[in-house]
Structures are given as structure tokens and as C-alpha cells.
């Protein structure tokens, strides 16, 4: 055990030595120092850690990223048809030229560095705060590393109903880029925002998004992670929900050598709603990990986790989801489903759907299934004259439907669906 701890410490220090912690004083510097202390306490993740048994963190920990070839998808970017405010990052650096004007009614958008330069700023009460809360009971060292060393990011304060979605666009231009991005979103009472994210961001991305939704606020999030085959990413969303607030997040992942998406949500106000969903399609060298931790700490809250994975040619899908119902969080309605469709015999699905419940008047359920395409359904379609490939695509889309249904905005849902169909069509060729 001692040796293991030592190996962890060595890996952590090696990574820290290669990092450049942004200069500057004030609250941001303090938050960075505290995060550094958190990281040193737990060390970077290792395969022996309970929540890393299915995903090897070595590539995410390494001092330098593995180079990732640039990739041109030769198709319009996701959400191109949506009227949105574009915020562009190139290899993890904000690009004001490519971005839209950041001013919009009912919303304040700044760069993280600008906010950090001011002594009095709302971001002070959020930066690293939800991340720190999210370290217990399960440590999330890569998120602490992010708070300590994030080089860029934006902070968004929503005071009214944002007239159009804010879209964060992550471009990948350098084969060796290593991006550490940290964004903050504060949705004030009764305010609403839709946040879109797309693109690979860098050869390796470490991203944290902290979202604080006040009473009656609503936050919708849809992201399409980049199609680059060689990219690697570790992302975290930390959200805290006030009374009668709504949080909905959907993620589409196609391709990518390694993706670890962690979502940590605390329902702290009564009658809050949190939905997290994901659809992942992987072919061959693809490892996708969804790790979700939802804590119910108020009464009559609802949470829903819907994760679907379609895997082929040795792709690996991981789901680790937990619903924690704290004492007193009565009338909780918690639902969780994780399903994998294995299109061939080489792919793997590894799941750990957990419930931890300390209140008696709750409805909590989870289900997890794994298997091949249903031959009866296939036979039905074939007998109606549908060619095998087409039938398979139809059944895949049907399988993913429950996750896509979690997207409220129809235009955005259609965009995601079109991308799924395109992915399937490409595989058929």
C-alpha cells in the first residue's frame, strides 16, 4: 500500500511539475492553492481506485498529452442551424475574433481571467466551490487539478431568460494541445439558460463546468463531443440546484479514444429536477465512461439518468451511476437506466449502477441491460422487406430514443438525431 501511495504521489508531482499555474493573486489564487492541496491529498487517479476500475487514467494523468491527429469531419458543425451566441476556444484558448460579441440581454459573460482580476465578483463564491463539495465521498482529483491549473474559461451570470443559447465551440488545431478549461454558470432566481457545447477542444481536454442554479432557475445543456478519433477528454459538471429549479443535460459522444464524463449534482432545494442523459456510439478504439453522482438532499426532488451506448469492433462503454438519498430527503423520485447494445462479440459494457438510500418514503429504481440486437425485431423488419443494414440502423435509433427524448428543444434534438444517423450511415459504407 505504501508503494502504491508513493507511485500516486510521484505521478501527481510529475504532472504538477509540467503544469503552469496561472499567475495572479486574490480569490482565484486562493482557490487554486486550496485545490492544489485537495489534489495532493488524494493524488491523481489510479486503476486501483474504486471509481477507476473500468477506465485507465494513465493517459489523463501523464505530464504531456499523446499527440492527436487533426480531423476534418467534412460536415457542418453541430447546432449550426440554431440561432446562438458563439464563444470560440482554439486548443483551449479563447478566440475573441472568432467569437460573437459577448453582450446579450439578461446575461453577463466574461473571461475567467477578467473575473479573477476583480476582488469583488460573484464568481468568487463559485470557482472551485462546487468542485470541492463534489470531492466527498468520492474524490475527483482531475477536477481539483483543473481548478488549480485552469488556463482559460468563461463565467456566465444569467439574470433573466437568455434570448438565445450560448454555444461554446472548441476547435482543435494543434496535434499536441493540452487544454484545461474551467467555466462557471450562475443562474439567478427564475432565470433560464441553454448552453451548447461542441468540438474536440484539444488533443487532451480537462474541463470543469460549475453550475449553480438558484430557486426557480432553469439550465439546459446539450453537448456534442468532437468526432476526432484520437482525442482524449476528462470532463466534470458540478451542479447545485435550488428550490423548484431545473437542470437538464444531454451528451452525444461519437468516437474519441478516451472520454470520461463525470456529472455531480446536488439537489439542495425542494422540488428540484435533474435529468442527465447520454448517447454514445463507439467503434473500435473507443473508450467511453459516464460517471454520475446525484445527491438528493431535499424533499420531493426528481432525478433521472438515461445512458445508452452502442458499441462495436472492440469499443468499451462504462457506466457508473449513483443515486444518494440523504436522511430526510423524502418523496424522492430517482430513476436510472443504463443500457448497452453490443453490435459484435468484441465490445464490452462495464456498469456499476448504485443506490444508497437513507429515507424510506422514496421511489428509486435502476435498471441495466446489455445484449445484442433483438433478433425477433430484426426478423420482423426483414420480413417487411427492410434490408438488414437499414433494419439494424432503425433498431439502433430506437434503442437510443429514450436518451434523445431527454432533449427538450426539438430543433436541437433533430440536429443530434441527424448526427446519429450520419454516424450509422458512415459505418455502413
Amino acid at each position: 500500500m505504501m508503494a502504491l501511495a508513493q507511485a500516486k504521489r510521484a505521478a501527481t508531482e510529475a504532472r504538477l511539475a509540467a503544469l503552469e499555474i496561472p499567475a495572479g493573486g486574490g480569490w482565484a489564487a486562493r482557490a487554486r492553492e486550496e485545490a492544489l492541496a485537495r489534489l495532493r491529498e488524494t493524488g491523481l487517479p489510479a486503476r486501483r481506485d474504486e471509481y477507476w476500475r473500468y477506465t485507465d487514467p494513465v493517459a489523463l494523468n501523464a505530464p504531456a498529452p499523446e499527440p492527436a491527429a487533426l480531423f476534418d469531419p467534412q460536415e457542418p458543425m453541430p447546432f449550426s442551424e440554431v440561432d446562438r451566441l458563439k464563444v470560440v476556444f482554439v486548443d483551449g484558448v479563447f478566440d475573441p475574433e472568432a467569437s460573437d460579441d459577448l453582450s446579450m440581454a439578461g446575461i453577463e459573460i466574461e473571461r475567467l481571467a477578467e473575473a479573477a482580476a476583480r476582488d469583488i465578483h460573484w464568481a468568487k463564491d463559485l470557482y472551485g466551490v462546487l468542485e470541492a463539495r463534489g470531492q466527498s465521498p468520492v474524490p475527483r482529483p482531475l477536477a481539483a487539478l483543473n481548478t488549480a491549473a485552469a488556463t482559460d474559461g468563461i463565467v456566465i451570470r444569467v439574470t433573466g431568460k437568455a434570448p438565445r443559447p450560448v454555444a461554446l465551440i472548441y476547435l482543435h488545431r494543434s496535434e499536441t494541445s493540452d487544454a484545461v478549461l474551467h467555466h462557471l454558470v450562475r443562474v439567478e432566481e427564475g432565470a433560464e439558460l441553454t448552453l451548447l457545447e461542441n468540438g474536440p477542444a484539444a488533443a487532451r481536454l480537462n474541463k470543469v463546468l460549475e453550475v449553480d442554479v438558484a430557486d426557480g432557475g432553469a439550465f439546459h445543456h446539450v453537448r456534442a463531443q468532437g468526432r476526432d478519433h484520437e482525442r482524449r477528454a476528462a470532463t466534470h459538471i458540478f451542479a447545485r440546484l435550488g428550490e423548484k429549479s431545473v437542470f437538464k443535460s444531454f451528451t452525444l459522444t461519437v468516437n474519441g479514444k478516451l472520454t470520461r464524463n463525470e456529472t455531480v449534482i446536488e439537489l439542495t432545494g425542494d422540488n428540484a429536477v435533474a435529468h442527465v442523459a447520454g448517447a454514445a456510439l463507439g467503434d473500435a478504439d473507443f473508450h467511453h465512461d459516464d460517471t454520475v453522482f446525484i445527491t438528493h438532499d431535499a424533499v420531493e426532488c426528481e432525478s433521472r439518468q438515461v445512458f445508452k451506448k452502442v458499441l462495436r469492433n472492440g469499443a468499451v462503454g462504462v457506466f457508473q451511476g449513483k443515486i444518494l438519498v440523504r436522511p430526510g430527503a423524502q418523496k424522492t423520485d430517482g430513476y436510472q437506466i443504463s443500457q448497452a447494445l453490443l453490435l459484435d462479440d468484441d465490445s464490452q459494457f462495464l456498469a456499476k449502477p448504485e443506490l444508497e438510500i437513507y429515507a424510506d418514503d422514496v421511489i428509486c429504481s435502476h435498471g441495466s441491460t446489455s445484449g445484442a440486437i433483438d433478433e425477433t425485431a430484426m426478423f420482423y423488419l426483414r420480413s417487411r422487406g427492410v434490408p438488414r443494414d437499414e433494419a439494424q440502423d432503425l433498431l439502433v435509433i430506437a434503442f437510443l430514443a429514450e436518451a434523445i427524448d431527454e432533449i427538450d428543444d426539438e430543433a436541437i434534438a433533430d440536429d443530434i438525431l441527424a448526427r446519429l444517423q450520419a454516424w450509422l450511415a458512415r459505418r455502413r459504407r
Binding site: E50, Q330, L342, D345, P353, L355, I357, D360
Partner: protein, 506 residues
């Protein structure tokens, strides 16, 4: 029982509450047998390991086997991943060997056994005389004598008191004796199979057991033999500050069948006691083993004082094609339970089943479940777990279902239901699902809404509503399993089956 009175919520019917109360409220077996006991010195070291080996008159290879386990154990750390909290255990502050003085001279037959020991088992309702029928079972007099015969191996603290029906079993070729006797009399079988399912250094508690186990049961059923009666072991902890480390080895040779039952109780004491057992089952081609447990160790008092720490490693190796192992457990006792009866489904078309009812009340904590490791083709497994938590108790289902790439066309179905009574307790589910081929189907559910659709459809089409149909299906197979238990166990366990599924959470 006050903890259970507050906040019983709507939808949990009275009967459920009463049943749980009567089950968990009074510990019937908390009395102590006054008997002079001979102890080995407190603590564990190589000398104690040698002493236990010497006491059991073991051959050299066995002593060495124990010592190598002990050396491995010293390098190991106690596992802390289970959702149970208990004070640090001082492994040097307890006895590892306790034997009634009257057992000094090995009794040649049951007639020579100390009457106080016989009285103990009689009081527990365990028949140690072959002509005796199961005590206190209503209607037993009318039942045909053939149907109710159970061979018993009675273990008292560290030693086996006696084994019944040995001669009759021997006629059928079945070997049923204490493990210490098996080591002396059947070394070739013990050497071949001991540690082949649960390796010496499998985990902290199993390794400790490998070093210091004092007794336990041994069963060998030869090829093609259907064991003519139920076999049973009854474990009784009596001495204070004494750990019990029993070891059970069951070998079902090709095409054989055996049903084995295990029961256990302990006196009410202020301080906690350690129980770390290992059970190994080997099922060869076409063999079938049913292993049933009613675990009723002293659970501690209402304030959570005392009680047994139950750290048990149970594993079955379905080594042969078409072999089958079924684990059934009714867990009502122990302050802390850490137990995962598992099946390695190595043979093609082998089957593993796990049915569990775990009840925790007051300050009891149970972290229990199973592992189904599918290695062979067309293997099947089924897991049904019901956890009921009351008072300040914590009840966790922890399980693994693993489909290896070679395990084509395999199938698993898992259902876990939990029921919470009161708002101070907890119920948790920690399943691990690892699927590495696509021809296998794995389904895990922690809701009561989806049992086997065909069965449900059948019942629904006969006019039952979904709740009724579901209760019938779940009770149906639970009953089938519970009926395999000895009658006094079955009666106790059947009360549990009445527990409603309403208000369940995963």
C-alpha cells in the same frame, strides 16, 4: 423496538411490520451452555497455528499449509470497502481455539457425548440422535420417517461434537464428517480440493481462516449418487471472546446431488465476537448442490452492543459441464455481515442461482450479495435478493455479474428489492456488471415492475393485477427454495416470504 414504531409509512402493511418485529425483536438463542472449556492462549501466532493443527492431529502437509496461509495473512490488510462500520478488531485479544473439556477424549459415539452438549442441541431443536425427529415441528409425527431425516454435523466452538447417520451415508458411498476427521481419513480428497475454490490467500478473512480454522464439515458425494438425505451442519458459538473459524468443503462428483443446510446461533454477550468461515463447493459434470443457510448469529442488543462480526467467504466452482449450484440464504442475525456466496460457472451450460433474504434491525449492518462469474458457454445465472432494513440498520446488496468473452450465449437475470421500515435506516445497492461478449444477455433490475414478462403475462391473462401476479411469481420461487430447508428453518423463513413487496426500493 421503539425505533421501528416511529414513521411507519403508508403502504407498508401491518403484517410486514409485525413479521419483521417478531423475527428481529427477540433473540431466542441468546442463552449460554455452562460447560468447562479448554482454551488455547489468547492471540494468533505461528505457535497457535501449530497448536490447532496438533490438536486436530493433522499431518505435516496440513500444518505447513496453515503456516503458509498465516504468513500471507500477516502481509494483508483488512478490507474496508464494504458499507459497514465497526470498531477496530484486535486480532490478538481473542481465543482462536476453544473446546469443551468433556471433549478431551474423543467420544466414540454420540452416546458418549457430554449430555450437556446434547442438551444444548436439543434446546436448539437440532436432532443429534438418529431416532429423534426434528423437535417442535408440528405435524412431524405424521410425516413419513423417510422424508424428514437429516444428517447433522454439530460444531460447538472449535470442535465437531458428532455427526449423525454416518454409517447409513457410508452405505451410499457418501462421506460426511468433520473436516478434521477428513484431513486424517481422506487426505487425498482434502489435498486435491482444499483451497482449490477459495485460494489460501483469497482475501484477508479467508486467509486468516486458512491459518486457524479448527473444524467444519466435509462432504463427498461419489459419481452418480443422489445423497439419500439432507446434510446439515449446525454451528454454535458458546465461549466468550472466542472467534469461530469453520471450514466446509463439499465435493459433488459427476452426476451426483446433495442438499446441504447450515444453521448457526450464539449466546447474547456484551462484546462482539468474530466469525470468519470459508465454504468451498466443487460441482463436477452434471452434479447439483443446494446450499442453504439460515444465519442467526447473535445480532447485538437494541443499542447495537455485542453481536457477531460475520466475515464469510463462500464460493462454488461449477467445474463440470451442466453442473448446478444453488445458494439460498436467510440472513437475520449478526451485528455485521460481510458475505458474498459466489459461483464460478466454468463448465459449459452450468448454472448458478442465488436467493437471499436479508433482514437487519436495530444497529445491524449487512453487506451481502453474490458473484456470478460466467466462463463457460451457455451458462445461466439468476440472482434474487430481498433486503429489509429497520431501526438504524444498514442493508447493502453488493454483487458482480461477469460475462467473459468465452461465455457465449449466457444469461443473467438479477433482481434486487429493498424495503425500508422507518426513516433512520438505509438500503443500498452496489452491483457490478461486466459484459464482454454480445451473445449474452444481462439484465439487472432494482424495481418491482419487471419480472419475467412471460410469467407476468400468463398471470395477468388469468385476471390477476400486476401486484398480485408479481407477488405470486416472487413468492413462488422463494417458497420453492425455502421448502428445501429443514422444517424448523422453513417455518422461520416462510414468515419472511409473507413480507409485502409494496414500498420497495432498489
Amino acid at each position: 423496538m421503539t425505533a421501528m414504531d416511529d414513521n411507519i409509512r403508508e403502504g407498508v402493511d401491518r403484517e410486514t411490520v409485525e413479521t419483521v418485529r417478531s423475527m428481529a425483536g427477540k433473540y431466542k438463542y441468546g442463552w449460554e451452555t455452562e460447560i468447562e472449556t479448554e482454551f488455547a492462549p489468547k492471540g494468533v501466532n505461528e505457535e497457535i497455528v501449530r497448536l490447532i493443527s496438533r490438536k486436530n492431529e493433522e499431518p505435516e502437509w496440513m500444518t505447513e499449509w496453515r503456516l503458509s496461509a498465516f504468513r500471507r495473512w500477516q502481509q494483508m490488510e483488512e478490507p474496508r470497502w464494504a458499507m459497514v462500520r465497526y470498531p477496530e478488531i484486535d486480532y490478538q485479544d481473542q481465543y482462536y481455539y476453544a473446546k469443551p473439556k468433556s471433549m478431551q477424549e474423543k467420544p466414540k459415539s454420540l452416546d458418549e457425548v457430554d449430555p450437556r452438549l446434547l442438551a444444548t442441541y436439543e434446546k436448539l431443536g437440532i436432532p443429534l440422535r438418529e431416532q429423534m425427529i426434528l423437535a417442535g415441528v408440528e405435524g412431524a409425527e405424521e410425516a413419513p420417517a423417510e422424508a424428514r431425516r437429516v444428517a447433522v454435523d454439530a460444531v460447538f466452538d472449535s470442535v465437531s461434537v458428532g455427526t449423525t447417520f454416518k454409517e447409513e451415508l457410508a452405505k451410499a458411498g457418501v462421506i460426511f464428517c468433520s473436516i478434521s476427521e477428513a484431513i486424517r481419513e481422506h487426505p487425498e480428497l482434502v489435498r486435491k480440493y482444499l483451497g482449490s475454490v477459495v485460494p489460501q490467500s483469497d482475501n484477508f478473512f479467508a486467509t486468516l481462516n486458512s491459518a486457524v480454522f479448527s473444524d467444519g464439515s466435509f462432504v463427498y458425494v461419489p459419481p452418480g449418487v443422489r445423497c439419500p438425505m439432507e446434510l446439515s451442519t449446525y454451528f454454535r458459538i458458546n465461549a466468550e471472546n472466542t472467534g469461530q473459524f469453520e471450514r466446509t468443503l463439499i465435493i459433488a462428483d459427476k452426476g451426483s446431488y446433495v442438499s446441504y443446510l447450515e444453521g448457526c446461533t450464539a449466546p447474547r454477550r456484551e462484546t462482539s465476537q468474530l466469525h470468519a468461515a470459508v465454504v468451498e463447493i466443487v460441482a463436477l459434470e452434471d452434479a447439483e448442490v443446494k446450499y442453504s443457510t439460515v444465519q442467526n448469529w447473535y445480532p447485538g442488543d437494541e443499542e447495537g452492543k455485542g453481536g457477531i462480526f460475520n466475515f464469510v467467504t463462500k464460493r462454488a466452482d461449477c467445474r463440470g459441464d451442466r453442473s448446478k449450484v444453488m445458494w439460498t440464504q436467510v440472513e437475520t442475525g449478526s451485528a455485521v455481515t460481510w458475505k458474498y456466496p459466489s459461483c464460478i460457472l466454468r463448465g459449459d451450460e452450468s448454472q448458478g442461482e442465488f436467493y437471499s433474504i436479508a433482514i437487519t434491525n436495530n444497529y445491524q449492518q449487512a453487506d451481502t450479495g453474490t458473484k456470478m462469474v460466467h466462463l463457460g458457454r451457455n451458462t445461466r445465472s439468476r440472482i434474487v435478493s430481498k433486503g429489509i432494513s429497520a431501526g438504524h440498520a444498514q442493508n447493502t446488496y453488493r454483487g458482480l455479474v461477469s460475462m467473459h468473452p468465452r461465455a457465449k450465449n449466457s444469461r443473467n437475470y438479477t433482481q434486487c428489492d429493498s424495503l425500508l421500515i422507518g426513516d433512520k435506516c438505509g438500503a443500498h445497492t452496489v452491483p457490478y456488471i461486466e459484459v464482454k461478449n454480445n451473445s449474452s444477455r444481462v439484465e439487472h433490475e432494482a424495481t418491482t415492475s419487471k419480472v419475467d414478462d412471460d410469467q407476468l403475462f400468463y398471470c395477468r391473462s388469468r385476471g390477476m393485477d400486476e401486484e398480485e401476479a408479481l407477488a405470486l411469481i416472487v413468492n413462488g420461487f422463494a417458497k420453492e427454495v425455502l421448502q428445501a430447508l429443514p422444517m424448523e428453518f422453513a417455518m422461520e423463513a416462510q414468515q419472511l416470504v409473507a413480507i409485502s413487496l409494496e414500498g420497495s426500493v432498489g
